[in-house]
Amino acid sequence: MLRFLKKLCAGKATDLDEKIARLNYPLEEHKFSRSLDENVAVIKKLFNNVDIVQYKMIQSPGKDPIRYFLIFIDGVVHSEIVNNNIVEPLMTKRPEGGEPLLESLLATVVQVGESKKINTFKALIESVTHGDTVLFVEGCDQAAVLNTKQFAVRSIAEPDNEKVLSGPRDGFTESLIQNLSQILRRARTNELKTKTMTLGKRTQTTVCICYLDSLVNKDVLEELLRRLNKIDIDGILDSNYITEQIHDFPNSPFRTVGSTERPDVVLAKLLEGRIAVLVDNTPVALTVPYLFIENFQVNEDYYFNFYYSSFSRMLRIMGFFLTLAVPGLYIAVVAFHQEILPLQLLMRIALERQNVPLPAAVEAVIMLIVFDILRETGVRMPSNIGQALSIVGALVIGQAAVEASLVAAPMIIMVAATGITSLLVPKLNAPIIFWRLLLLLLASSFGFFGLTIGLSLLFIHLNNLKSFGVDHLSLEGSFSFQKNKDIFIRSPWPDMIERPEELSENEVRQQGGGNNG
């Protein structure tokens, strides 16, 4: 008898060992077994060395007790719910009603709002790590996932790099659900579709695609889904992981996917027919398609008076060209085309340059790099050290270097102008750094000719870019006001009758169809 039992156990053990040994196979293949002990053994093996995982064996009251097994992770579960609504009822009540056992248990005993059934270890791991509690019942090859999630969530605050003077001040947080709620609150319509999918092999990040059904361009939507499904990556920690994988031109410094931390911006883009991609655990939402002009559009443009907005938008566009071309322009003028300068100015600059040891071109490259070093240190510095930094920048590099004739004063002015104007278009920082250097190099070997060639290249490149099949820079040579209403100027709202044609399938804005325009 004892022997038989031993044998049985041994036989069981070998089965189990085999199963455990095979755990490296795709986990989807591993279904739960009817034996609770076996499941427990596998689970313990799976969470080997994960000490924060809590296991709890419970027995129901009464004779012939049913054995339950609970597994959850401390800290991510709401412990009160686990204690009061799961453990306590399980211990004190027996499920009423007949088979199947799990169903009746969920229906009569467990007091949790959201629950579902799973039958693979893969699903188990996903649920447990996500803050759910999994309940096993003896004799069932299914388990119940009980929603007991409780994460520490940052409170809603205004995003630091998209501050506004007027307009809504809420920003996204790291919680996808909360972010969605902020969007939903603004668009009370069933047209707002949200499609979720899970990306990242190891992080299993939830990604949510939002769009307005009647406005969205179906081609773009299809293309986006195709690209998202193609993503094969370990983990997704921020939406930029996705950006770079659904990019049309991965090597281009220009982004063809927009990003924002503000729900109002997301909704504005949705209303123009764009699609938003929200990623769990990051406050940054993506919007596609992304047009070049969006680099210059700011949500505040639409909240302020349109004269003011139009003016500041033109400033931004000008700033883009200035910050790109000013160093190249300066070098071209100083080293090649001195005739452009009036004599007084020419002599002043020549005087300043008199004892400077380096050629102007080299000087410009060095100074631009110095400026970028200062900027970069400033970004990630505790704010109390920032003051020291500005002293170093202003005094040492500015004044002392000029006094010592190491750097010419006009160069400092030029670098300062470049730096300041680059702040006008923060979204274009990456391409600007690259192209500015290229223009500078071309200008320092060919003067204006090189500069022209450089700008041509930039322009060809921009014309080449596409964002999900839509031209990034769209120049159809159209003279109609509706097409240009939101490019260089921001027209008043009554005049914004049409949506951007290439983005939306429903071009007329639902606002009186221009009756009030």
Binding site: S252, Q338, L341, L343, L346, L351, P359, S444, F446, I453
Partner: protein, 378 residues
């Protein structure tokens, strides 16, 4: 997108490889030339060029920038220009030069056309450079400045000449390409501002002293500042200046009129083998200086002043045209161009013996002076 990368990389490498080569000229490596003087040295049969360059070496950062003179000699203009390199470390940069002063000897010996064409061809000099003739022995003297003076001589000369037509109206502003056009036009004559040195207090300064007349590209003679003013009248280039009149017969000019606006029209007719040119000018003036005996509120007086001014202008213009016709035979008024443009057939007929026709042109001048106001005082 490796293609794009390729292109970019290539550009960077090519640019880097060439950085600092060829046309790159650092501002610290050039001498900025602000004025050029061209001389011909008869004794050595050599061309001499003097350049006024901005003096950056001795200048303080916060003071005015002065200038110094560099000279060089050579067998021809290009040779002379190149020889400057021997003496100076830095290359000469002509892109900002204001004035080109030509000496009398040069204009007599060589003719100015070659020099002007050379400067135009060079490409670095601006077509709008101001050209002048020196009345002193050499052109270089004009660019020299008194030790007590600071600043740059050439820019002062440039100011004097360009502002002249609206301030004193005593000389004529000519740019490099204007001269080229004049010399190449049918008249084949030119006029240049003339410069000389003079004392102003204890300083020696340069002043514009009328103009120089060229027949072909050779110097023919000079016109006084006053004659130059009436050339400006005839050419419709006048924008300001003062007219003085003797109204009371006391041998002094007792009233001055300031010119506001002047408009001159030229026309011609051809009768009995004789060309007749009509110059009609209408001038708006204001009374700038007045003697108390003239009552400006009286319309009669105003009319008298106007008539007197008209007569004077008519006579002076006639005189200056006659002088140019008789003494220099140089068609600086571009009558030939006028005939050529308005009546091509007649021009083709006259062209072979134009010189003769020119000196026999009958001039008719009519002027209309209109006193607009009399300043603040009645």
């Amino acid at each position: 997108m490796a293609k794009r990368l390729l292109v970019c990389l290539l550009y960077i490498l090519v640019a880097l490889g060439l950085c600092g080569c060829w046309n790159y000229r650092g501002l610290d490596q050039v001498n900025i030339v602000v004025g050029i003087a061209v001389d011909f040295d008869k004794e050595n049969n050599e061309y001499k060029m003097s350049y006024e360059v901005a003096d950056l070496l001795t200048a303080e950062k916060r003071s005015n920038i002065g200038s110094r003179i560099i000279t060089s000699e050579g067998k021809n203009l290009f040779d002379a220009a190149r020889n400057a390199k021997k003496k100076e470390l830095n290359r000469l940069y002509f892109g900002s030069s204001y004035v080109l002063v030509i000496s009398q000897q040069f204009a007599e010996k060589e003719g100015i056309f070659d020099a002007i064409e050379w400067f135009l061809r060079d490409g670095e000099c601006r077509e709008t450079m101001c050209v002048a003739l020196s009345q002193e022995d050499t052109a270089a003297v004009i660019l020299k400045k008194d030790e007590k003076m600071s600043g740059i001589m050439s820019s002062i000369i440039h100011e004097i000449i360009t502002k002249d037509k609206s301030v004193t109206a005593s000389t004529i502003h000519m740019q490099l390409y204007d001269i080229y056009n004049m010399l190449k036009s049918k008249g084949n004559a030119a006029i240049l501002p003339a410069l000389r040195k003079t004392k102003n207090g204890d300083r020696e300064v340069t002043e514009a002293n009328g103009s120089a007349v060229f027949k072909g590209d050779k110097l023919a003679g000079f016109l006084t500042p006053e004659e130059s003013r009436y050339v400006l009248f005839a050419e419709d280039k006048l924008e300001g200046g003062i007219l003085t009149l003797d109204m009371l017969g006391r041998e002094t000019d007792d009233i001055s009129l300031e010119i506001f606006r002047s408009d001159t029209k030229k026309s011609f007719s051809y009768q009995q083998e004789r060309l007749k040119v009509k110059i009609e000018s209408s001038i708006d003036v204001s009374v700038a200086e007045n003697h108390e005996e003239l009552d400006l509120t009286n319309e009669e007086v105003i009319k008298r002043i106007e008539e007197a001014a008209e007569v004077m202008i008519e006579e002076k213009i006639k005189a200056v045209v006659a002088k140019v016709q008789q003494e220099y035979q140089a068609d600086i008024f571009n009558f030939s161009d006028m005939v050529y443009k308005r009546d091509l057939k007649l021009w083709e007929e006259l062209e072979p013996h134009w010189d003769e026709v020119f000196s026999n042109i009958e001039i008719e001048v009519s002027s209309k002076v209109h006193i607009v106001n009399s300043g603040f005082i009645k």
